[in-house]
């Protein structure tokens, strides 16, 4: 509910600025549209329908051109776009891996290497989530998968329950930031930014966030030391490394081919699907049933995304024909505020929205309008893509309404109040926010690598 207050506050600022600025902005119309938007949203209307119908409404009210003549092309264009083909392919890869049992091995192997550090198994939570999210694109899937693998290890240990749940939730929130994330594909599609460049830009920030998480756990482990398990012989450790190989090869296949410029993200995703199916076959798990279940889940998740894209593109097309994003961008850029203050407002808006909206619907809905403002302010589109993705992820683990946390709450073996998860996640949330601030101060963290690689 913090979200609602924050949104109203931002709306208030916008209206105030519009009135005092004396610029020719149709305040009443914008407010009416925003009103319709909020009522529809509140009533639980399908997001795609809200966007699409709002678009039609805008067209009928404000446009005197035959906009409907281009509606078919507006819907067909994005849905047959090669960049977007990466989405079902990455989803498919994740679905296959989820069912192939790679996550179990990953956790066991990492555990052998990490369990003697202060904080022990908690590091394994973060690292295995980070690695898993490097091959999967969804936060809920990462949290659910790693949660189901990891939680049994903590049964009967003296680990702090809150930290266990918190670290898993935080790890799940790395899912979309660590390449290859679906969010970046959608962002790239809407803003016509290179998805490959976004993946490269997200590399250092992902390491930064993962590193900060590790520091949080290290701090916790030093403050509340637990008995260290006895050291394992090197031979066992090396054997564990063998279990990591499939995951590493897959990561290399997908990310390596993108980073080396050898394949586009869509092609890398296709290689990833074939690679994932190959490892499932090696495990003896590749079956018709597995492929069938993966195919159905992929079809469903792609369709729900596709429908929202239909609505968003229709709305965006109509808003663009009546010049709303351009006018808004010009207006906001002309405000007597420093760019960083406006950027801070935009980032706060994302944080607020993210508490009740699901990641990609939020990006599809807002980026078409916000993006022109961002570029008008002189910010780098790639940097902004990384920032937005981080904020969407932060929103998913911010109490009281983060999806990932409820997933974990539903899975914990020892029952307890949801507040355990909330308290546990707070230090990680702070670390994540710190990373956002660092990126705001030094955009180079995201932009240096893409620049170096041309």
């Amino acid at each position: 509910m913090i979200a609602v207050i924050l949104l109203l506050l931002l709306l208030g600022i916008a209206v105030f600025a519009a009135v005092t600025g004396g610029a020719a902005i149709p305040v009443t119309e914008i407010l009416a549209l925003t009103g319709v938007f909020l009522v529809f949203f509140g009533a639980g209307v399908y997001i795609a329908a809200v966007l699409g119908l709002l678009g039609i409404l805008v067209g009928l009210t404000f446009s005197d051109r035959p906009w409907w003549a281009f509606a078919g092309q507006t819907l067909w264009g994005p849905s047959s776009n090669f960049v977007l083909v990466a989405v079902p392919l990455f989803l498919l890869m994740g679905e296959i891996l989820l069912r192939a049992g790679l996550s179990d091995r990953l956790y066991k192997a990492l555990n052998i290497w990490l369990n003697r550090l202060p904080g022990g198994l908690l590091h394994t939570n973060i690292v295995s989530c980070a690695v898993f999210s490097a091959i999967s694109g969804s936060s809920v899937a990462t949290a659910a998968t790693m949660g189901s693998v990891a939680l049994p290890y903590f049964n009967g240990t003296r680990y702090n329950q809150r930290m266990v749940l918190g670290s898993l939730a935080a790890g799940g929130a790395l899912g979309n930031l660590i390449p290859p994330g679906i969010t970046f594909i959608i962002y790239g599609l809407i803003t016509e930014t290179s998805v490959g460049a976004l993946y490269i830009a997200a590399f250092l920030p992902s390491i930064l966030v993962t590193g900060l998480f590790a520091l949080v756990i290290l701090g916790h482990g030093i403050l509340r030391p637990l008995d260290r398990p006895p050291p394992l012989p090197l031979r066992l450790k090396l054997r564990a490394l063998l279990d990591l190989i499939p995951t590493m090869i897959l990561m290399f296949l997908v990310l390596g081919s993108i980073y080396a410029g050898y394949a586009t993200p869509t092609e890398a995703a296709a290689l990833g699907v074939v690679g994932a199916a190959g490892f499932a076959a090696l495990e003896g798990k590749l079956s018709l049933r597995l492929l069938n279940a993966s195919a159905e889940a992929t079809a469903r998740n792609t369709a729900l995304l596709g429908l929202i894209i239909f609505g968003a593109y229709l709305l965006n097309y109509l808003l663009t024909t009546i010049n709303v994003p351009q006018a808004l961008a010009g207006f906001i850029a002309g405000l007597p505020l420093p760019p960083w203050a406006i950027m801070a407002c935009i980032l706060a808006l994302y944080l607020a929205l993210g508490t009740f909206m699901e990641g990609f619907s939020m990006i599809i809905t807002t980026v078409p309008v916000v993006f022109p403002i961002v570029t008008a302010l002189g910010y780098d589109p790639i940097w902004f893509g990384v920032m937005v993705t981080m904020l969407v992820e932060i929103a998913q683990i911010s109490p009281p309404d983060g999806t990932v946390m409820y997933v974990l709450q539903g899975m914990r073996p020892r029952p307890g109040p949801i507040t355990d998860v909330f308290v546990g996640v707070v230090p990680f949330l702070a670390a994540y926010l710190l990373a956002v601030v660092l990126l705001m101060i030094w955009p180079g963290i995201a932009l240096w690598l893409p620049r170096m690689m041309g």
């Binding site: 529809f40 949203f41 509140g42 009533a43 639980g44 209307v45 399908y46 997001i47 795609a48 329908a49 039609i56 509606a71 078919g72 819907l75 067909w76 849905s79 047959s80 776009n81 090669f82 083909v85 079902p88 392919l89 498919l92 679905e95 989820l98 069912r99 049992g101 996550s103 809920v140 659910a144 998968t145 189901s148 394949a263 869509t266 092609e267 296709a270 290689l271 699907v273 074939v274 003896g284 049933r289 492929l291 279940a293 195919a295 159905e296 889940a297 992929t298 079809a299 469903r300 792609t302 369709a303 596709g306 429908l307 239909f310 009740f356 699901e358 619907s361 997933v407 539903g410 899975m411």
Partner: protein, 209 residues
Amino acid sequence: MSGAAEPAILRVARGLRVAVSALAAGMAYLAGWNYIACALFITADVVGRSTIGISSTATVEVTGYMLAGGIAWGLAHTLARRAHIRVDVWVNRLPLMLRAWLHFLSLLLLGAFAAFCAWAAWALVEESILFDAHDNSALHLPLVVPQGIWMFGILAFCLMILVLALESALTLLLGQPEELDRLLGSRTLEDETAEALEAVEMSRQAKTP
């Protein structure tokens, strides 16, 4: 639910909905396998390009069409599985009767939007026929084929909304809001978690006993 006491008309509506759902599920499985084919196709293209220097030269276009078809053919099934995204934070806290009406209203609005999409798709297909439009790929494919497949998916989506609306309207008239809530209420987090766990469970099963 209430077995014999159920009016015949509701049974007919339910039967209709079940039939359309089955069709939609079949279409969604096809859409899913179509993505698998897509992955194989693109992989073959990448491997072919780098090893023996051949490529289909129309991969970008064809896989784009496959995506469009996949999205459209998955829409109806996604609705039947109640997976289309809505913001339901507030709705789920409302009393049952009000909630049921809001579900119904949402479905009608979705129907309006879907009908518009279907109309737009039809207009596009008609235009492609009129101008005998072909794409720019080396294969010079007629656009009416992929666009027609795409349109068919959107039409199936409209049909799904229609039969769902019919059944919902009847349950409302007969005073069974809980039935409607079950039919249209969005999937809860428990549903999603259960699904992820089910998938993980599949990975735990012994290879072959």
